[in-house]
């Protein structure tokens, strides 16, 4: 039986770019996926925002690496993923929110982020028709953007196969064979795969995969619902994030994608824990009035489709990335907290370096260690 250098569990937002990156370095790689094709888990549920605008050092660093790679996709790799650098705009209608956003700026800028406070006039220029009353301004990061998660998944799938990566679909991991503290094989419902290196990129099911080798990592999915409208002619470019909570929800965000549809998503309160991905009746009446309150012009847009995706959360809102301490040849890249799409491309190169050369970017690997103290809290989710 064939032995692979690396077996990646999960053909999703993290596994796909990583497969390409490892394959491109000449390693023999197989991706094992329980669903029938690529990106059918949370990848396709991602609404498509790509940003480096975080409040945390590691995530800013990975986000920047992701954006760098995504910008190269079209010119260098010939892959059009509908990327548009429309920026992220956090408008403020509340003095406290304005103050919080402004307070974050120095930290964000110190990590090299291009982000600034913009005045109400500029907000209205960038988002024509946004509610003027009470608008105090907002932060704007012009180098963030958005893309089609479907196209990104498809692009990495294509690139990975070109790099010789193999894929096994409808193949579910049921366990591992560990010999003398070292991974020897991956056991699946379709037989075993020999390898000395496993990457757990199982997203919302990453904790279950870790438990198969006895490592219990705190990844607990909650879920968000999202929707998309019919396409119309372009009328605004940035991702708009309203972080002011209301009675039933925290932030919500929306943008117009390159295909013309407005994509939107909301964070419900309380959180909806678990892996249920069926749509609920609560979503539209929760999000649409908030969007129309902020941006009345959206009222004539027709909502086309809704869906629900998982946010594999960790206690401190940061991903879990790093080698397992107890099982040699076992790497975890899970708990992306709903940001797998925007972190995956950046992580791919860093994980590849770690696996192929043993080089671990300290800023990232210390902060995201599976064995860190999880008690911190993220400022800007």
């Amino acid at each position: 039986m064939k032995t692979y250098d690396v077996v990646i569990i999960g053909a999703g937002s993290v596994g796909l770019p990583l497969a390409h990156s490892l394959g491109a370095r000449g390693l023999s790689v197989v991706v094992v996926e329980k669903l029938p094709s690529v990106g059918q888990g949370q990848n396709k549920a991602a609404i498509g925002g790509i940003r480096a605008t975080h409040s945390d050092r590691a995530k800013i660093c990975i986000g920047n690496a992701s954006l760098d790679f995504i910008r190269r996709l079209k010119p260098e790799f010939g892959q059009d993923v509908d990327y548009l650098e429309g920026g992220y705009l956090f408008p403020a209608y509340d003095v406290n929110i304005a103050a919080n956003l402004k307070n974050l700026l120095p930290t964000q800028q110190s990590f090299g982020l291009n982000i600034n406070w913009i005045e109400p006039e500029e907000v209205r220029e960038r988002v024509p028709g946004i509610k003027a009353e009470g608008l105090l301004g907002g932060t704007f990061s012009p180098n963030d953007g958005h893309l089609s998660s479907l196209k990104l998944g498809g692009a990495f799938y294509r690139l990975a196969r070109q790099a010789g990566v193999e894929f096994l679909f409808e193949t579910e991991v049921v366990g591992f064979e560990v010999e003398k503290g070292k991974v020897r094989a991956v056991l699946t419902n379709r037989g075993e795969i020999n390898t000395g290196q496993v990457v757990n990129a199982a997203g919302g099911f990453g904790r279950e995969v870790g438990l198969m080798v006895g490592t219990d990592l705190p990844v607990y999915p909650d879920s968000h619902e999202a929707g998309i409208t019919e396409p119309v002619q372009p009328f605004f470019q940035p991702m708009i994030v309203d972080i002011q909570p209301d009675e039933h929800s925290d932030n919500y965000y929306f943008y117009q994608n390159v295909a013309g549809g407005v994509v939107f998503c909301i964070t419900p309160r309380p959180k909806r824990m678990g892996t249920d991905r069926r749509s609920t009746s609560e979503f539209l009446p929760m999000v649409i009035p908030r969007m129309l309150n902020l941006y009345p012009r959206l009222r004539n847009l027709k909502v086309r489709r809704v869906w629900r995706g998982l946010y594999p959360m960790t206690p401190d809102g940061k991903p879990i990335v790093g080698f397992d301490r107890d099982v040699e040849g076992f790497f975890h890249a899970i708990g992306m907290c709903g940001q797998g799409l925007m972190l995956g491309p950046g992580l791919a190169e860093m994980i590849t370096l770690a696996i192929a050369e043993g080089k671990e970017e300290p800023e990232v690997f210390e902060d995201l260690s599976p064995y860190r103290d999880f008690s911190g809290e993220e400022l800007l989710k």
């Binding site: 609920t280 012009r297 009222r299």
Partner: protein, 690 residues
């Protein structure tokens, strides 16, 4: 172009109002659908697609797709579900619409919350009878239907129904059955009707989201769900299938029979099931020529009596034929057909091209049962009925609705029986045609009338036996059900009740005349005519052969059945064979002198909303080893307004043709919303409804 004379339907009369289309002032009936007003004014193209600047014509006429979208007063709307108002400014939608700068803040309201024990989706034959059954048992029912008028597709059927009179109004026209059931449901106090309202989603928390009155968003909580959403028409992949003028037989019925619009001059029909056959009949009644009906199968799948009727009227049926392509400058102008070999490949040398303006697709139906799946996923009691459960005739749907109503009552804890005979009848009513027989008819030996029953195939139908005053018509056969063939024996007074009620127009009355060598026949006729005594007409036998001529001696019109009876003197030798008269002249059905042979199969459109061709899909499937239909969402297949209602049904065959084993193909996941809803309606910005 409107239908100004119809043999069965009352011709429309109403208030005409002016509106504009691309600046030109036109007239239409107030309240009719804008699409029909446009059609009546000769407009067939509603929008210009972003991909390839292709003109888009009507397709479903049923609010399900979005091909009829136009700009009305600045906003994109589906013209087939938008009633015409005076002064509307209608414009061709070119590419994606521009969102109006409608920036004034308005208050939003939460959805109205309604509740019931059983939510029934779909007010067609099965939904109506299921509602009545449950309501009679005391259950509270909310019935949602996306049309103003209940009855579903019944209201589009101008033909008399098959089945039995006792169980499903056999012999009555569908449109009348629709009225009868609607009346009953509307006066029932346990039934709340949400008409003109579309279910957008069945959610996991036990609520349905409803686009109520196409204006606001309403929640209905329910204990149990019955899905009676009917079926969708299947489509076909052939070059030119996206030209305005290619659409389903259902859309045609809507235009012609509901809105009385003369949608075409000459049509070709693809598909020889009952839908295609009846489509031809509806066309002829509306004064539209039918150049032929084609089917790739070697036999007719619809009822033989339907097919015989159509053939007698002068419509050729081409079996073992496929449609090779349709061409025209921005609209259908020509359609080419060809015979197929045993692998269904067209034989070029047999190609025929017809000058037509419309190609009707009637290649079968698929159950629209996604709410049933949603109900199952959400784990609440859910049943489906009618076409949503199994494609069959409306007569069986009515019976099925009653049964499912009782089944739901049982699920909800009511101790009630389902009579065994209901189940037996439901089985019989949904039977496909059975065996065909050769019958030797004889003329009456005595003076006096006798019926000749040109009924040769087992189908579930018996109204002739019910109406005969002397019980002289009885079913006889080996099955012992209403599938058996009727036979005459005994007394006949020539009342012609059997002639008038037969849905197949397959019964004639004959008697000898005093003049030797001649006989008299009475024929049913469902077309307006100007025949007078003395007119000589071409006689047609059961299979549609012209067998000679006869002379009209009298005509009368039966108002109740809206059927003409034509009495003719014919040669005695022909009397037992004549079943009808030619309606459509042979010159109409002749093909063009030269057949068109330049169609490129890869140009056929598979996903209509996003205009994705067969060639593009085949290439993507090959490159990406597609087995999961979800992968095709990347090139946007099924990502358009309709959500894959047409193309998802076509895709498996495309993959199989490329060598993907059918059992390895995985279905595409379906998500709400079932129809697009404006945000202002979801936020109830039209105001709060208590």
């Amino acid at each position: 172009m409107r239908i100004t004379k119809h043999p069965v339907l009352d011709v429309r009369d109403g208030k005409k109002v002016p509106f504009t289309f691309d600046g030109e002032t036109l007239m239409g009936y107030e309240g009719e659908m804008v699409s029909s007003a446009l059609f009546a004014n000769g407009i067939r193209s509603f929008s210009i697609h972003t991909v390839g600047d292709a003109p888009q014509g009507i397709f479903c006429a049923n609010g399900q797709c979005a091909q009829c979208t136009v700009i009305i007063n600045g906003q994109p709307v589906k013209s087939c579900i938008t009633p015409l108002r005076e002064g509307m400014k209608v414009k061709t939608l070119v590419h994606y619409p521009t969102l109006p700068e409608d920036d004034e803040w308005r208050p939003s309201f939460l959805p109205r919350e309604l509740s019931c024990q059983v939510l029934i989706i779909g007010g067609g034959p099965s939904g109506l009878t299921a509602s009545l059954e449950l309501a009679d048992l005391g259950f509270s029912v909310i019935l949602v239907d996306d049309k103003d008028r209940l009855g579903g597709k019944l209201v589009l059927q101008t033909h008399k129904f098959f089945g039995s009179m006792a169980d499903c109004y056999a012999g009555t026209r569908g449109t009348d059955i629709g009225h009868i059931l609607e009346e009953e449901v509307r006066k029932h106090e346990k039934i709340t009707i949400l008409a003109n309202s579309t279910v957008a989603g069945i959610y996991s928390d036990g609520k349905a989201g409803i686009y109520e009155d196409q204006a606001r968003y309403t929640h209905v909580s329910f204990e149990a769900l019955i899905v009676a959403t009917g079926a969708r028409e299947r489509s076909l992949i052939f070059p030119g299938n996206d030209l305005p003028g290619v659409y389903g037989a259902g859309a045609f019925q809507t235009l012609v029979n509901r809105d009385l619009v003369k949608s075409s001059e000459r049509v070709l029909i693809v598909g020889c099931g009952n839908v295609g056959l009846i489509g031809a009949y509806h066309a002829l009644q509306a004064g539209i020529s039918v150049v032929g009906i084609i089917d790739i199968a070697p036999q007719i799948s619809g009822y033989k009596v339907h097919a015989d009727k159509i053939k007698r009227m002068g419509v050729p049926i081409y079996l073992n034929h496929t449609i090779v392509g349709v061409t025209g400058d921005g609209k259908v102008e020509r359609a080419t057909i060809a015979q197929v070999d045993e692998h269904w490949n067209p034989l070029v040398e047999t190609a025929k091209t017809f000058a037509v303006d419309t190609v009707l697709i009637a290649v079968g139906l698929t159950s629209a049962d996604e709410f049933y799946t949603a109900g199952q996923e959400a784990n609440f009691p859910v049943l489906k009925t009618g076409d949503a459960q199994e494609i069959a005739e409306a007569s069986s749907a009515m019976m099925g609705g009653r049964i499912v109503g009782r089944q739901m009552a049982q699920i909800l804890g009511r101790e009630i029986d389902i009579p065994a005979e209901w189940l037996e009848k439901a089985e019989v009513l949904k039977s496909l045609p059975g065996e065909s027989f050769v019958r030797n008819h004889t003329l009456p030996k005595e003076d006096g009338w006798e019926p000749i029953l040109h009924c040769y195939q087992e189908i579930p139908c018996n109204p002739c036996t019910t109406v005969c005053t002397y019980d002289s018509i009885q079913l006889k056969g080996k099955l012992g059900t209403i599938m058996d063939l009727p036979h005459f024996e005994g007394r006949c007074i020539g009342c012609a009740k059997c002639v008038l009620i037969c849905p197949g127009l397959a019964i004639t009355l004959v008697r000898k005349t005093t003049e030797p060598g001649w006989a008299e026949v009475i024929l049913p006729h469902e077309f307006d005519h100007g025949y007078k005594a003395g007119n000589e007409l071409v006689l047609r036998d059961c299979d549609g052969n012209s067998i000679g001529t006869g002379t009209v001696t009298a005509t009368r019109f039966n108002k109740k059945h809206r059927t003409h009876l034509i009495t003719m003197t014919v040669p005695e030798a022909l009397a037992k064979d004549v079943v009808g008269i030619l309606v459509q002249d042979a010159s109409v059905v002749a093909p063009l002198e030269e057949a068109e042979l330049h169609h490129l199969p890869d140009n056929a459109i598979v996903c209509r909303c996003e205009r994705i061709s067969l060639g593009e899909i085949r290439e993507f499937v090959r490159e990406n080893q597609v087995k999961d239909l979800n992968q095709l969402k990347l090139p946007r297949v099924a990502m358009g307004a309709c959500g894959g209602k047409t193309c998802l049904d076509l895709l498996p065959r495309v993959l199989v043709q490329l060598g993907v084993p059918r059992q390895e193909i995985r279905p595409s996941s379906l998500r709400p919303l079932a129809v697009e809803i404006p945000m202002k309606a979801i936020a109830n910005q039209g105001g709060e409804i208590s």
